[in-house]
């Protein structure tokens, strides 16, 4: 289960605040995954006191709304990433960035599909730069794209381009994964699926033996 409480002193109308919060949730908490299980209790409550005395926001399109949305997205993304970073048994945070989609929602769906893949998560725990599993997870996301335009990078290492595997330094790629695991750092997976403007991110963590151990013992 994830729970969240967000507070702000901005001055914002109720209907605008409720839309802003859902947009921010879609760009943050709804883009994380540890085990693919959607809880019975997931909840985010967001409260705006209005005590800052800032200009009142009564339209989602106003400049002030754009400024508040950006701050709200940042706080929720910061918290969402910390949940994925602390995933049960995790040794590293996985950040999947997808570009080239038709729209933001499509790119976000592909990103979450890759972050959710047990095979991708296990490969990262095994420090295996397994581009095939990343390509497979992008392909079954339910979003159509030209596979000849698929490009995959692991950190700065190009694994796939033009839909085909590239020669790359496997030891260096594995060392990148190993270092991320040893420092509980972040593994960056960048996927491009075309030339569209849509971009999205998702966050997850690697799948370790400890995840099974923790959940085999913790009954619910």
């Amino acid at each position: 289960t994830m729970l969240g409480v967000i507070t702000t002193d901005a001055v914002v109308a109720s209907d605008v605040w409720r839309k802003m919060v859902q947009i921010a949730v879609n760009r943050s908490f709804n883009q994380i995954t540890v085990d693919g299980d959607t809880s019975t209790n997931d909840t985010v409550i967001a409260l705006a006191s209005g005590l800052s005395g800032s200009p009142r926001i009564s339209s989602l399109q106003s400049h002030e709304a754009v400024e508040l949305q950006a701050g709200l997205d940042a706080v929720m993304q910061g918290l969402a990433k910390s949940i994925a970073w602390d995933g049960e048994g995790a040794t590293c945070l996985i950040e999947v960035s997808v570009t080239g989609g038709e729209i933001e929602a499509e790119a976000a769906k592909i990103a979450r599909s890759v972050a959710s893949s047990s095979l991708v998560k296990a490969a990262i725990y095994g420090r295996d730069p397994n581009w095939g599993r990343i390509a497979c997870a992008a392909g079954y996301a339910g979003i159509s794209f030209d596979q000849k335009k698929l490009r995959v990078l692991l950190g700065d290492i190009l694994l796939m381009d033009g839909g085909e595997p590239q020669l790359f330094d496997r030891a260096a790629a594995s060392a990148y994964l190993k270092k991320s695991g040893e420092t509980h750092g972040t593994v960056d997976i960048k996927v491009s699926v075309g030339d569209g403007p849509g971009r999205g991110q998702a966050w997850g963590c690697d799948l370790s033996y400890d995840y099974v151990k923790i959940n085999a013992e913790y009954t619910t």
Partner: protein
């Protein structure tokens, strides 16, 4: 043997998660949910957790009627506090308190579980001298178990008297909402809206059963 009375355990003894904020025109400041004007928070050990004495009961309050919003699991096996909060937000555009318990999810607990939520909201509202519809509730923990209501209700006066607008209050609340988490999660930023400085802060928990689809 020290009596295990509910106490506000020092939250700083629990590790906090690193927060990876995206780049932007904001600066990170201490304080989590209490950084924004008007908010207080508390986290105490109320005897709710199955084992250990880690804080397990949190409260966030606002001095004024705060504009409220919420996003909730779309899992149709929804916990009692989820159903309660969705109704409360339908009923009122504002709220003034969020009460959070860790240990029992109050999910799969039927009408009795829903009644527990109402009793807890009413009891807190009375202490805070506000309407029960201004109180929202979040729960996390073992599915199928009802809240340890007796222990929770007994802890409310101590929880309310522990409220603080300091960073300590925010940190204690962030620890109290955790379950299998290894670290607490709390952050706040200062940014500009229309030339005025505003603050956005928050706390979260989560480590397992994580694939949110909230609406």
């Amino acid at each position: 043997v020290s009596a295990t009375t509910p106490t506000d355990v020092d939250a700083s003894s629990f590790p906090a998660a690193p927060i990876f904020l995206p780049q932007g025109p904001w600066s990170q400041i201490p304080g989590g949910v209490t950084a924004a004007q008007g908010f207080k928070a508390a986290g105490i050990y109320g005897g709710l957790r199955a084992v250990g004495q880690k804080p397990d009961l949190a409260l966030v309050t606002c001095d004024v009627d705060a504009i409220s919003a919420g996003a909730f699991t779309t899992n149709v096996v929804a916990a009692a506090p989820v159903l309660y909060c969705k109704n409360a937000l339908e009923f009122s555009e504002t709220a003034r308190a969020v009460l959070i318990n860790a240990g029992q999810a109050n999910a799969g607990t039927g009408d009795a579980g829903y009644q527990d939520v109402i009793e807890c909201a009413n009891a807190l509202a009375k202490l805070l001298k506000m309407g029960p519809e201004e109180v929202l509730i979040e729960s996390t923990g073992v599915i199928g178990q009802r809240i340890k209501k007796g222990a929770l209700l007994e802890s409310l006066p101590n929880l309310v008297s522990s409220l603080s607008q300091s960073t300590l209050g925010a940190d204690a609340a962030a620890v109290a909402i955790t379950t299998t988490d290894l670290v607490s999660k709390s952050v706040a930023i200062e940014t500009e809206v229309g030339g005025a400085t505003i603050t956005v802060g928050g706390m979260a928990k989560g480590s397992g059963m994580i694939h949110p689809n909230m609406a």
